[in-house]
């Protein structure tokens, strides 16, 4: 018996006489109760909505988001936050006032101050300081708004990543992408609204970072790969063609529909829509996810290496996905944890090399989106989960210039989607230890992302375990200063 016939058989089996009687009785009861309680007896039995309204709260500035998360946390002091005073203090003991009452992930005792290993110059009409680690990006700073004094509550990777991506340091909350698609839906019915692309290694927070938490699982991020099949387990098995697969999905969903009518479990609806989407994706995804048909000059612009899971490839894919209406594209690039515990793990050579692997890709992404007119409707967010200390970590003794985790001040940037161009907001003290002006919290960044999509972070809620939850929990203010 093939799966189609089996499904058919199971379906008839499902509708036994007992079933019929049971349905009749409970149906009568429900009708009476329904009218007693003021429900509309003749309301159609359309499935309860599992989506948000799909309508933004107010006029959106951006339709899509591309979030470039540098997992492991890049050093702001080697990339964007130019601190000449810190360079002068290089090698001196860290004053106790900076250490008292603080906890660091690895620093013990009295560390030495560590000047920037990069050299800085001003670029663009905005005269923004950018280091020699990002020579290509230096050419597009006039498209970008920098947040120089972001701070977070966590100093370990996984919790900080959860806080950054889900608004809570513990796992189990929906990610920003899930909230966005919950609020707005996907703009392309053949593709998931929230797609995740990985490069550089495994992210500490793991798959939960793009999980949907308590939101219906239809809003979970779909992880795609630029190497091998775009989505795992999406191909039909041998002997199953598209027609049979369609019949199978239809049959399964018919059963699911009946089960839903009985149990009213919204997760069944989610599952049904996922079967449908998975089927559609079998044809839509391979096309979108193949960068082979891009012209050579575009491949050169991004510096892609076809068949690799590189950051550059993912940037190009991100543009293609956004072009096709995907709401939220999340890139994770791992390998930024520059403690200096070995050669190539410091903020000198190691970080420089790492920057070399993203510089061209992210610059090309900005340029390419801009020339297609997509940048004005796509919000780009760049940042790690925290920053790095102005002190040298020196966990393994001498030799390598490393910095410890530091949540008190770090740099993020945003571009496109209604964000000011060539603008810098916030400032850190003269050694880049903490923010002294324009301090923003992770929740403020999240509130701003939702705001650009036309969503009020205080109104985008979901009831769970007796209360309404939201991405920014009980805090968060939109950073109006960087919005056009």
């Amino acid at each position: 018996m093939d799966i189609f016939n089996e499904a058919h058989y199971r379906e008839s089996e499902y509708n036994t006489r007992r079933h019929f009687l049971k349905n009749c009785i409970s149906g009568m009861g429900a009708m009476t109760l329904g009218s007693m309680l003021g429900g509309d007896l003749f309301a159609n039995n359309a499935p309860a909505p599992i989506t948000g309204s799909g309508i933004p709260h107010f006029l959106p500035k951006a339709k899509h988001v591309i979030y470039l998360h540098m997992a492991g946390a890049p050093s702001q002091l080697e990339l964007f936050d130019h601190k000449p005073v810190l360079n002068n203090l290089n090698g001196q003991d860290c004053p106790p006032s900076l250490l008292e009452g603080k906890r660091f992930a690895f620093i013990r005792g009295t560390p030495k101050m560590l000047g920037s290993q990069a050299t800085f110059k001003q670029y663009g009409e905005s005269r923004t300081w950018i280091s020699n680690y990002l020579p290509k990006f230096a050419g597009v700073v006039d498209e970008v708004s920098f947040l120089k004094a972001v701070h977070t509550d966590e100093f370990n990777h996984a919790p900080a990543q959860f806080l950054m991506q889900t608004g809570s340091p513990r796992q189990g909350r929906p990610s920003i992408g899930s909230w966005a698609t919950y609020g707005l839906g996907s703009a392309n019915e053949n593709l998931p609204g929230f797609i995740v692309l990985l490069s550089g290694g495994v992210v500490s927070g793991g798959k939960r970072l793009w999980g949907s938490g308590f939101l219906p699982t239809v809003y979970q991020g779909v992880q795609c790969q630029s190497k091998g099949p775009a989505v795992r387990n999406l191909r039909n098995p041998k002997g199953v063609d598209a027609k049979l697969r369609k019949q199978t999905v239809d049959a399964i969903n018919k059963i699911n529909e009946q089960e839903y009518q009985e149990s009213r479990d919204p997760e069944i609806l989610t599952r049904m829509s996922q079967y449908e989407l998975a089927f559609k994706m079998q044809t839509s995804v391979p096309g979108v996810m193949s960068i082979d048909d891009e012209p050579e000059y575009i491949k050169d612009l991004y510096g892609v290496t076809p068949g690799e899971s590189s950051f550059a490839n993912n940037c190009l894919l991100a543009r293609r996905l956004v072009e096709n209406g995907v709401r939220f594209v999340q890139l994770y690039d791992d390998g930024w944890d520059t403690h200096g515990v070995g050669p190539g793990n410091g903020v000198d050579v190691g970080l420089n090399a790492k920057c070399g692997r993203i510089d061209q890709g992210m610059t090309a992404l900005l340029t390419d989106l801009r020339q297609r007119g997509l940048l004005e409707e796509t919000l780009i967010v760049w940042g790690g989960e925290f920053g790095r200390t102005p002190m040298m970590e020196a966990r393994s003794g001498q030799g390598f210039f490393g910095r410890d985790h530091h949540g008190e001040a770090f740099t993020m940037w945003m571009a496109g989607g209604g964000i000011k161009k060539g603008f810098t907001f916030g400032e850190t003290d003269e050694i880049g230890y903490s923010g002294i002006r324009g301090k923003v919290h992770v929740h403020d960044v999240q509130a701003t992302i939702l705001n650009q999509l036309g969503l009020d972070h205080e109104r985008l809620t979901f009831p769970f375990q007796g209360r309404d939850f939201r991405l920014t929990d009980v805090s968060g203010n939109v950073i109006r200063d960087i919005i056009t």
């Binding site: 933004p56 107010f58 006029l59 339709k63 340029t367 020339q371 007119g373």
Partner: protein, 455 residues
Amino acid sequence: MELDLFLGRFHPLLVHLPIGFIVLTVVIEIIGLFKKDRKIYDRIVQYSLIAVMVSGLITIATGLLLSQGGDYDEDTLWQHKWLGIGVVVFSALAYVLKMKIRTYNNRQSIFISSILIILVGLTGHQGGVLTHGQDYLLAYAPDVIKNLAGIELENSEKGIQQKNQDSVLIYPDIIQPMFEQKCTSCHNNEKQKGSLNLMVYKNLFTEAESGYPIVQSVLEESELFKRVSLPLNNKKFMPTKGKPLSYSEIKILEYWIHMGADSLAVFDHKNMTPELLQLMIRDYNLDYNPKPYIETIVVEEVEEQKVGILIENGFSVDRLGEDNFLFDVRYDRATIGGEQINLLKEIGDNITTLNLSNCGLTNELLAQLPELKNLTKIDLHSNSISDDAIQQLHKYKHLEVINLYDTEVSKEGLKLLLDMDSLRRLYLWKTNVTQEMVDESSNTANVIIDLGGAI
């Protein structure tokens, strides 16, 4: 826990049972007063009181369950709870008395009836307050009754907030209330210090002891403005007692006098200083900064059916906010025809952004594009469109963004595009337009032209 609430929610339904029985009890008791043989009435009252107790106990039980939900003001809840219990206890008492005395005398009868009714009334009112809020009973009462009840009538400052900001009049809505707050205790109809009366508009231009209070458009000669803007310790400073005018108030007064001190003058961003614009936002929540066109559009709701037809024909239609009916419309299929283009007419006024990119659009098809009076952005990239089609775009008076990358537009098209006053951004990557052509063009001041590539 869920079951608790489920049962609890029957409280508002059940609560009317004891109320009904109490009313019945009282009515029967009163009718009984006028009858010679009261026996039968006494019997009914007894049964009725039993019904009050039974239904009352059930109501109390569900009420207690409902209160577990917790969303209630605690003080009110406490009162409501004990009043409710009081009703049942008092009914029990009445029942016992009835059994003992059988027939009350008239006074007892009226006394007991009144207490029952008052208790029920109070309990019911507290219940109403619990669910509808403190002021629900008199929220819509006529002002006379509100006055009697001692409820403060809404003051005029609140009035500004409720007004559409374009209809806020400077004098009656801001300046006159300010006078009343800070000046008229000395300068009114009865008492006119310095022979100045600020209750009447025309007196502002009548000479008083120290000069003309206001001289239209001449700040230096307007005595009133001079007096309120003097240093605080100057002995001519006004007001001599009470709160001085705030900086915003002085600035508004200055603006109003400067603009001619008309009693019907309104704010206009064109002649407001950036400072005043900011002050109005900060202190009055009135934003007079010029809005982008898209934020000023007001359009009617569209029948869902019309949107449905577009979707069936290959369009995506996204609404752009709960507070408006603007649409972002995109054509998703590979080729578009005149038939589909015609459909756009149906929701023409509501379309503010339109994407017809990469769908085989030609000059001829573009010519069929209907009037879309609120169109602010159009994306036509990757179509075989040439200069001849550009003239068509001139009918869209509010078009700010045009995306024509990967089309055949060239020099002539660029010239036509730049003739459009509303244009702000123009995407011309992969067209025949070159940097030289852009450099040669005039009126590019307001337009960002993107020819692609690195900046």
